[in-house]
């Protein structure tokens, strides 16, 4: 009851926002209702196959349903007081067994040839290892040997209906996967926790990311642009919030992007060195820690640090955040096996890790006054 009434009151409050949004949504999107053609040879072949099977189904529906409606009308008791007396006919039954088989063969042939080509993963120009975890994607360029996480970038306020939603609501990330045009790109998918599924409709690539498995798929994109998709396998509470965004660039631009990334990584490691050689004060670490907490930890542990009973432990007053520092560092950096608490060491910098733990030890009444320096984190790695 309270849920429904709060829903209604929130609805009334936001009615203005919604109606503005509504007009926006209508003007921004032509109503999409069919499978999209996409931008790869495969996606187009699949769309043709879809059209073919849909067409066959529509024609068959018209025939079968047409016959049903005709007989309901023409053979209604008001027109025929006495029913005919036939109840079998071997020839007719044979015909309507054989004709469907022929139609099915007609559908199976193009489906088979398309499928054989889809499953040809050979001769890739570039390989990307896609590692899923709750609820983000990690992309690793195998040849160039670097990688990064890709997180949802839609602000929580938009999800909570406090701000108007922008055009790519829930389909936007902080760092998209970048690919070159005209190259055969091989995707290897796997997962660190539960099963996820990586889908870009415009490429017609949907591949499950399964812990313990490495699955293969590939694409070759003809035109540059930004393509958006989503996780399609229920993977927990963040399932709706792990979009896939792929930016496809001409080859030259892609190469220079790779170079930039390498430079950025080098720069970041220099910054990291500087960060860990500096001694940070509480005043510097707390705001940064709060920021990191809200971005990465608050989904489960909640902004107030109270967690959710039975699922996500509270951090306020917890033995981890108020007890021995080593245990706290270990839990945050290495996670807890077989739970949604993942290892953060590979995901965050020394400074961010130090900041968030300092924050956790000093927020919500956890007044330990402990200060964790990036250097300590670095030495634990």
């Amino acid at each position: 009851m309270t849920a429904i009434s709060s829903y209604l009151s929130a609805g009334l409050k936001n009615a203005g926002v919604f109606s503005a949004l509504w007009l926006c949504a209508h003007s921004a999107f032509a109503l999409e209702w069919d499978m999209r053609e996409g931008v790869t040879d495969m996606s187009q072949r699949i769309q043709t196959l879809h059209q073919l099977s849909l067409g066959i189904c529509i024609v068959l529906s018209i025939i079968v349903f047409g016959t049903i409606f005709y007989t309901l009308f023409a053979h209604h008791r008001s027109r025929r007081s006495k029913a005919a007396d036939f109840h079998e006919n071997t020839l007719v039954e044979l015909i309507w067994t054989v004709i469907p088989i022929l139609i099915l063969v007609g559908m199976a042939i193009p489906a088979t040839s398309t499928l054989i080509d889809i499953e040809d993963n050979s001769d890739a120009d570039l390989t990307v290892l896609i590692t899923a975890s709750q609820w983000k994607w990690h992309y690793h360029y195998v040849e160039a040997d670097f990688g990064f996480y890709s997180n949802l970038s839609t602000p929580q306020a938009q999800i909570d209906n406090l701000e108007p939603k922008d055009e790519n609501y829930l389909l936007e990330v902080d760092k998209p996967l970048v690919l070159p045009t005209h190259k055969k790109v091989r995707f290897l998918t796997t997962s660190k926790d539960v099963i996820h599924s990586w889908w870009v409709p415009d490429f017609a690539v949907k591949q499950d990311a399964i812990p313990g498995y490495i699955n293969e798929a590939w694409t070759r994109v003809g035109q540059s642009g930004v393509y958006r998709g989503q996780c399609t396998e229920l993977c927990g509470k963040g399932h709706a919030f792990m979009p896939v965004v792929v930016e496809v660039k001409p080859e030259a631009e892609f190469d220079s992007w790779i170079e930039q990334q390498r430079l950025a990584i080098a720069l970041a490691s220099e910054t990291a060195v500087a960060d860990r050689n500096k001694t940070w004060s509480m005043a510097e670490l707390l705001p940064r820690g709060e920021e990191v907490f809200l971005e990465h930890c608050a989904t489960c542990h909640q902004p107030g640090g109270l967690g959710q009973a039975g699922r996500y432990p509270a951090l306020a007053g917890s033995p981890i955040t108020t007890g021995a520092i080593e245990k706290h560092i270990d839990r945050v950096m290495n996670g807890k096996a077989d739970t949604e608490m993942q290892a953060w060491a590979p995901q965050l910098s020394d400074l961010d890790l130090a900041a968030v733990m300092t924050y956790e030890r000093n927020a919500w009444g956890n007044n330990t006054a402990d200060l964790i320096q990036p250097l300590t984190v670095y030495l634990t790695r």
């Binding site: 196959l49 049903i68 007081s81 109840h87 007719v92 469907p100 499928l115 293969e216 919030f241």
Partner: protein, 539 residues
């Protein structure tokens, strides 16, 4: 029967008498009634969960749930509808009608029958108590894929596991009872190939249940030991295999979807001849088609798993096997059409629901055929297109089938005719609402909306709003159904024994309402043409 003594001794205490009657009953009609009311109750509970889902999806943004609660709604809606609404409804119909249709005095194993019903309230008490446990209800979807349901499952997963165990025991015992009854208690003269089709489809369904429910029980037991006893059947880090889970689940799950549709095929095959006033076309091919569908249902499970990295050979095998199901299914649809063809048709409510079933189930069949094509499935899989597909086979399939059966046999059960005007209103409003709810889901799926998401991007907003409005209507139409059923129980025009002018079968030879005990001496079964030739009593 055995309860007579108890009823005698408790006559002075109405409440005790009432409890004793319903707790201890071994009468197939009373147990059938219990099953039907349990199913009706759970149908409304699971339906209410669906209303909450559609309310959340009415607009983009998070409205009143939070994501984890939404996942719990989706999971419980699926589980309760499948195991609580559809399956017990069919078992209830089987209990009521199979003995009446084959001329048996009761089910062959009456005490077992009582036991298999009374397990169910406990099973659902376990499952439905899970939202109130710390950590909330199961939140991994009705397919409960590992490791989301094992290492990552909430504490209430164990309630779910034991609930499923109980439901499985109930289903297996119920099925054994049906098989034994059909094989042993048919009236003299009723050979297997003269049985009504409803009995045939249920016989085949019972075999499916006996074969797959133990598989499900094994699966949840493996989950249980993975969760608590250190095994790693499904955990990759312990050398187990999360995909093995899916193979086992769908080896149960695909026959399960036929368990939820075959009895409806039987119901349509009873109702359509009655209101077309013409014998069922192709009785033999109907039986063979049902058996073929049941066989094929065991070799197509992989079509739920095309994106798990299945090898090419596996994909081709499961694609061809799945496409093959269209052939016997087509035969059934064509036979129903041929039954109506040149009949003398009237459109009372049961017939409306039966024809609605044939048409809308066919739409679900067509989208099933599209889903079988592996390359296209890569685009459809786990989107709302799939949600549209299985709701078309389940709502207008299983549920319209059940409603057709209820309208068809309600006069026999209660002795009263239902209100035809309200029945028709129920049908037409349900027809409109079903399509308004589920048809737009094809479009949102094709446009790229994944299933089981609590919030969606803006281009899916229009279709979702239409679906939600449709769902609200659909919920209301079922309240009307409840009203009609209660009104019929409480009174109404007296039903004749024959009830429907065109109906054939032993169930129409007993009085309306059917007395507690029927066919205490077996009737001689003769079909109408046979009776005419041999001068016997036509039945």
């Amino acid at each position: 029967m055995s309860t007579h003594a108890e009823i005698e001794t408790t006559r002075r205490h109405p409440l005790l008498a009432f409890l004793a009657r319903w707790l201890l009953t071994t009468n197939h009609k009373e147990i059938g009634t219990l099953y039907l009311w349990l199913s009706f109750t759970l149908f409304f509970i699971a339906g209410a969960l669906a209303m909450l889902i559609r309310l959340e999806l009415f607009q983009p943004g998070i409205q009143f749930t939070e994501p984890n609660f939404y996942n719990q709604l989706v999971t419980l809606h699926g589980l309760v509808m499948v195991f609580g609404a559809v399956m017990p409804a069919f078992v209830g119909l089987a209990n009521w009608m199979i003995p009446l249709m084959i001329g048996a005095p009761d089910m062959a194993l009456p005490r077992l029958n009582n036991f298999s019903f009374w397990i169910l309230p406990f099973a659902f008490a376990l499952l439905l108590s899970s939202p109130f446990i710390e950590g909330g209800a199961p939140n991994f979807g009705w397919t409960f894929y590992a490791p989301l349901s094992t290492t990552y499952g909430p504490p209430s997963t164990d309630f779910f596991i034991f609930g499923v165990h109980l439901m499985g025991i109930s289903s297996v015992l119920g099925s054994i009872n049906i098989i034994v009854t059909v094989f042993n208690l048919r009236a003299p003269g009723m050979t297997l190939m003269k049985m009504p089709l409803f009995v045939w489809t249920w016989l085949i369904t019972a075999f499916l249940l006996i074969m797959v429910m133990p598989v499900l029980a094994g699966l949840v037991t493996m989950m249980l030991t993975d969760r608590h006893f250190g095994t790693s059947f499904f955990s990759a880090s312990g050398g187990g295999d999360p995909v093995l889970f899916q193979h086992i689940f769908w080896f149960f799950g695909h026959p399960e979807v036929y368990i939820m549709i075959l009895p409806s095929f039987g119901i349509a095959s009873e109702i359509i001849p009655t209101f077309a006033r013409k014998k069922l076309f192709g009785y033999h091919s109907m039986v063979y088609a049902t058996a073929s569908i049941a066989f094929l249902s065991f070799i197509v499970w992989g079509h739920h798993m095309f994106t798990t990295g299945m090898p090419l050979f596996g994909e081709l095998f499961f694609m061809y096997a799945t496409m093959l199901i269209a052939v016997p299914t087509g035969v059934k649809v064509f036979n129903w059409v041929a039954t109506m063809w040149r009949g003398s048709i009237t459109l009372e409510t049961p017939m409306l629901f039966a024809v609605g079933f044939v048409v809308l189930f066919s739409i679900g069949g067509f989208s099933g055929l599209m889903l079988a094509l592996v390359p296209a499935d890569f685009q459809y899989h786990d989107t709302f297109f799939v949600v549209a597909h299985f709701h078309y086979v389940l709502y207008p399939g299983a549920i319209f089938g059940t409603m057709a059966a209820v309208y068809y046999w309600l006069p026999k059960w209660t002795g009263h005719m239902y209100d035809e005007r309200l029945g028709k209103l129920h049908f037409w409003s349900a027809l409109i609402a079903v399509n308004l709810t589920f048809f737009p889901m094809h479009f949102s799926g094709l446009a790229g909306m994944p299933r089981r998401i609590v919030d969606y991007s803006l281009q899916f907003a229009d279709f979702n709003m239409v679906s939600s409005i449709g769902a609200g209507m659909l919920g209301l139409t079922q309240v009307l159904f409840l009203y009609i059923v209660i009104k019929t129980i409480r009174g109404g025009e007296k039903a004749s024994d024959q009830v429907w002018e065109g109906a054939e079968g032993l169930e129409w030879t007993v009085p309306s309402p059917a007395p507690l005990h029927t066919f205490e001496t077996p009737p001689l079964f003769q079909q109408r043409d046979q009776a005419d030739n041999e001068g016997g009593v036509p039945i």
